[in-house]
C-alpha cells in the first residue's frame, strides 16, 4: 500500500506565466474594460439628451466595438449576475431577444423607468441586441422622443453603462490583483498562478473557437441549408466587423500571455486577420453561394489555425492546457 502526504506543492510554474499574466492584464484586460466603460458611458450620456435611434446609432456602434474588445473575457466580472448575457445575448437560438423586446413594448413595462427594476428584466430584453432592435429594426426605429421605445432605449443605454462601469471597477479594483497574486488576496478565486494563467488562456482559446464556430458557423449553417440571417448583429451591419475586432482583441490577449515569444501564433493571427479584412461580405450574406461559403470556410480554418497555434505555443509556455473535463464530452 502506498501512503502519500497531502500534496500542497504547486506545479513548477513556467517562468513565462507571471510575465504573461501581468502583460495580459496591463496591456489588454484593464485598458479594454476601461474602454468599454467609457463607450457605454458615452452611449448613456447621449441617450440622456436624445434617445431617438438616429441620435444613438453612432455611440451604439462604438459601444459594440468596445464590447468586441472584452466579450471573450468570460471570467470574474463578466460572469457576475449574468452580465455577459445581459450585455450580449447571442447566439439567440430561440429568438428570445425579439420576443422579449416586443413583450416590453406591448406591455409598456414600467421597469424601463427605474434602473433597479430594469436590471431585473429578462437578460434577453437588455443589452446590445435588444437595443439593436430598437435602433435598426425598420418597424421599430422610427420612434419619437416621447415614445415608450425612446425611454426603453435610454434604459438599455443606462443599464449598459452601469454594467460597463461595474466591470471595469471590479477588474481594476481587485480581480486583476487576485490573478497576479493568487491566494494572497483573501479570495479563493484562483488558488495559484497556474489557475490564473489557465483562466486567461481558456478565454483566448474559447474566444477563437467562438469566432469560428458561432460568428462564422451559425450563418454558414450546413451546405444544404445556409443561414445568413443568423449572422451576429446583422441588423446593425456588424457581422464581419465583429469577427475582425474580436480577432484583434484576442491577438492582443495572446501577445500578452505569450509575452512576445509566440512567432507561430503571431503569424497565424496575421493570416486570419488578413483573410478577414480582405473578405468583401460584411454581412456574410454570401454564405448561401458556393464561392461565398468557401471564403467563410477558409476564414474559419485560419481562425482554427490560430487557436491550434496558441494551444501549441502559448499553453505549454504557461504550463497550462485547455479544460480537461470541459472538452471531454461524456
Amino acid at each position: 500500500m502506498r501512503l502519500f502526504p497531502v500534496l500542497t506543492l504547486l506545479l513548477a510554474l513556467a517562468p513565462a506565466a507571471q510575465a504573461g499574466i501581468d502583460a495580459a492584464l496591463d496591456r489588454h484586460v484593464l485598458p479594454r474594460t476601461a474602454a468599454f466603460a467609457g463607450a457605454t458611458g458615452a452611449l448613456a450620456a447621449t441617450a440622456e439628451d436624445d434617445c431617438t435611434a438616429a441620435a444613438l446609432r453612432l455611440e451604439y456602434q462604438a459601444a459594440f466595438d468596445a464590447w468586441m474588445g472584452i466579450a471573450h473575457l468570460r471570467l470574474g466580472p463578466l460572469e457576475e449576475n449574468g452580465r455577459a448575457l445581459a450585455i450580449g445575448f447571442w447566439p439567440d437560438k430561440r429568438g428570445m431577444v425579439g420576443d422579449a423586446v416586443a413583450r416590453l413594448l406591448a406591455a409598456r413595462d414600467p421597469a424601463v423607468g427605474n434602473p433597479d427594476d430594469f436590471a431585473g428584466v429578462s437578460v434577453a430584453a437588455r443589452g446590445l441586441f435588444a437595443l439593436e432592435r430598437l435602433l435598426y429594426e425598420p418597424d421599430l426605429s422610427d420612434y419619437g422622443p416621447d415614445a415608450y421605445a425612446c425611454v426603453f432605449s435610454r434604459a438599455i443605454a443606462r443599464d449598459l453603462a452601469r454594467m460597463g462601469t461595474a466591470i471595469a471597477r471590479e477588474w481594476s479594483g481587485g480581480f486583476a490583483e487576485a490573478m497576479r497574486r493568487p491566494g494572497k488576496t483573501g479570495e479563493a478565486i484562483f488558488l495559484n498562478r497556474r489557475e490564473a494563467a489557465q483562466a486567461l488562456f481558456t478565454a483566448l482559446v474559447t474566444g477563437l473557437e467562438f469566432n469560428a464556430d458561432q460568428r462564422l458557423g451559425r450563418p454558414m449553417g450546413s451546405i444544404d441549408r445556409p443561414r445568413p440571417e443568423r449572422a451576429e448583429a446583422r441588423r446593425s451591419g456588424r457581422p464581419l466587423r465583429n469577427v475582425i475586432l474580436s480577432l484583434e482583441a484576442l491577438h492582443e490577449l495572446g501577445q500578452g500571455l505569450g509575452d512576445g515569444a509566440m512567432p507561430e501564433t503571431d503569424a497565424a493571427f496575421a493570416t486570419a486577420l488578413e483573410t478577414a479584412r480582405e473578405l468583401d461580405d460584411p454581412l456574410f450574406a454570401d454564405a448561401g453561394t458556393p464561392s461565398g461559403r468557401l471564403k467563410l470556410e477558409i476564414l474559419q480554418q485560419r481562425i482554427e489555425a490560430a487557436a491550434d497555434a496558441a494551444r501549441r505555443e502559448i499553453g505549454p509556455a504557461l504550463g497550462v492546457s485547455a479544460g480537461f473535463n470541459a472538452t471531454d464530452g461524456d
Binding site: 500500500m1 501512503l3 502519500f4 497531502v6 506543492l9 480537461f324 473535463n325 471531454d328 461524456d330
Partner: protein, 357 residues
Amino acid sequence: MTTRRAFLASLAASAVWPSASWAEAGSPAFLAAAREADGGYALFGLSERGADIFRIPLPDRGHAAAAHPSHPEAVAFARRPGNFALVIDCLRGRVAHRLTAPRGRHFYGHGVFIEGGALLVTTENEIETGRGLIGLWSRAEGYARVGEIASGGIGPHDLLALPGDLLAVANGGIRTHPDSGREKLNIDTMRPNLSYLTVSGGIAERVELAPDMRHASIRHLAAQDDLVAFAMQLQEPLAGVAVPLLGLHRRGAAPVLCQAGLADQLAMEGYAGSVAIEGGRVGITSPRGGRLQLFDLDGAHRQSFRRMDICGLATGPRGLVATDGLGGVLEVGERTLHPVTTAPRAWDNHLVRVPAI
C-alpha cells in the same frame, strides 16, 4: 442469460475470497482518477477532506470507477467506447483483473456492484443492434462474465444500485459505433429514458420525458432515499437553449425538471457532467460553463457557484465535495465553494464515494 443460481453460487464463493477491507487501504472516502503532471494517469483514494491516501497508476484515461462495498477493490472503466475495465486491488496497488467486453459489446463508462458486492454490473452497447445492455460479472469467479440483460434503451451510461438491488439506468438514447468513435448516429430519432430494473425481473419502470425534451440525453444519476436525480446533456437542436439539465424522479410519479434563471441556465452550456444529492440539496456540475448549481429537493434553484473545469461531485461524510480539472478538491458549503486541497493534476469527470463500512 444468467440465472438466480449463478448469483447464489457467487455469493457463496465470495466467502472464500480474502477478506481485506477498505480500512486496510487507509479508509478512503472517495476514489477519483486523474491525469498527472507528467501526462500519465492514476487512480487516487482520497480522505474525506480530499487528502491523498493511495495512488495507483492507470494505463490510460478512465471515465468512472466503481467501488466494492466492502473490499478494497475498484473497477476503473475506460472512456467510452472502451472495451476494457480494470479491477484494481487498492491494498496492493495493482491490477487484479482485466475485464474485456465480450465480442460485439463495448463498455459505456460506468458500473456498480450489487448483491452485496458479489456481482458487478456494467453499462454496455450491443454494437450490431445498438441495444443497451447491462453486463453481469461474478466477483467470486474472478470477475467472469456470467450474463447480460437489456438496459431498457439505447446508450446506457451511468447506473445506480438502489435498495433491493433495483438498478436505475440512464439510457442516454444516443447510439454510437466503435468504428466511428463517439459520433452520434441517431440524433434525429433519439429517445432517452431512465429505467428501473432488476437482474431477475427485467424492466420495472421506464421514464421518458416529453417529446420536446428528447434531445436531452439522460447521462448521470444520484439517489437519496426514494429520490433519483438525473443529469442531462443537450444535443442539437436543444444545445444552446435554456432547457433543464436536472430531473428528479420518484417511482411511479412524473419527473420534475429543474431549471435556474436564464443566465445561470445558459452558463451551463447544455452540459451537466455529474450529479449528487446531499440532505436537502441536489447539485449538478458543468465543466464547460465552470458552474456548480444547487437545487432544493422540490426542484427550486438555490444558488450557483463558479469554478473552472469543475466536474466531479459526490456526497461524502462531511457533505458535498467537488473536483476540477485544475487539481482542486472543494467542499460545497452553504454559501461558499471552499477549496480544501490542490495538487498538480487534472481530476477526471467523476468523484466516486467509497461506501462507509
